[in-house]
Amino acid sequence: MKYVIVFLVLYLHWILWSGKFDVFHLSLGVISCALVTFMSHNLYIQSEKLSPRIIKESFRFIKYVPWLLYQIILSNIHVASLVLSPGMPIDPKIIRYKTKLKSELSLVTFANSITLTPGTITADIVDGEYYVHALSKKVADDLMAGEMEDKVAQIFEED
C-alpha cells in the first residue's frame, strides 16, 4: 500500500515534468518511478502503517497555507518598513519559546512557519523548546501570542 501511494505521487510528478504522452515516455516513467520507489520509499513515508488521518491532515494543511501566506506578506511588509526606515529601529534578541507540539512533522511545520514569517528565525530545537532569533519586539510578541502554534496543533490534532 505504501509503495502504491509513493509510486502514484511520483508518477504524477513524472507526467508533469515530462509533458509527453506517448507510450515510450510513459513506460520510461514507470521504470524510473519504480526505481525511485524501490530506493527510497521509506524516506518519503516513514510510519509503518497508514491511517486515514493523513487525508484529513493534508486537507487541513492545505487550508493552513493561505493563512500562512497572508501572515508572511503582512510581516514581510513590516520588515520592509524596518529596512527602509533610516534609523533602522531594530532590537534583535534570542527568545525561548516552550512548545506543546509533540510529533516530528508538526514540530517541523511549526519551525518552518516561524522561519518563513519574517522577523523570526528558528535557531534550534532542544527538548521541545524553540530558540528563536527575533528581529524586533513586535514580531516576538506576535509569536508569543501563540496563534500560529494553535493553528499547527489543530492541523495535526494535538492539544
Partner: protein
C-alpha cells in the same frame, strides 16, 4: 487583459520584496539580522514573481502545454517555499554553534 494586469502586479510586488531583501542584506549590522532580510524577503519575492509568471503563461488560453508549464513554475515555487527556510535555519544554527555573538542594541548605543 485583466490576467496580465494581475500577473504584472504580482511580478512587480515580487521585485519590490527582492529590493528590500537586498537592501537589508547590505544595511543590517550583523549576520543574524542579515539572515532575516535575505532568507525571507527572497522567499516571498520568488514566490510572488513565479506566481505572476505562471499566471501570465495562462493568458493565451488553456492548452495542455500551457497548464503543464504553469504547474512546473508552481512546483519550483513550492520547492523554494520548502527549501529556503530550511537552508536559513541551517545557517543560523551553524552560526550559533560557531558561537557568533548576536548584535544587540545596547552595545551600539554606548
Amino acid at each position: 487583459m485583466i490576467v496580465i494586469t494581475i500577473a504584472v502586479a504580482l511580478i512587480v510586488a515580487g521585485t519590490f520584496f527582492f529590493v528590500t531583501a537586498t537592501l537589508g542584506l547590505l544595511r543590517f549590522p550583523d549576520f543574524y539580522t542579515r539572515m532575516h532580510a535575505a532568507g525571507k524577503g527572497d522567499t516571498l519575492g520568488a514566490l510572488l514573481s513565479l506566481a505572476g509568471l505562471a499566471l501570465y503563461n495562462l493568458n493565451n488560453g488553456f492548452s495542455v502545454e500551457a497548464i503543464l508549464i504553469s504547474m512546473k513554475i508552481l512546483i519550483i515555487a513550492l520547492f523554494i517555499f520548502i527549501a529556503n527556510p530550511t537552508a536559513t535555519h541551517a545557517i543560523t544554527k551553524a552560526g550559533l554553534v560557531c558561537s557568533v555573538k548576536p548584535w544587540e542594541k545596547k552595545e551600539s548605543s554606548k
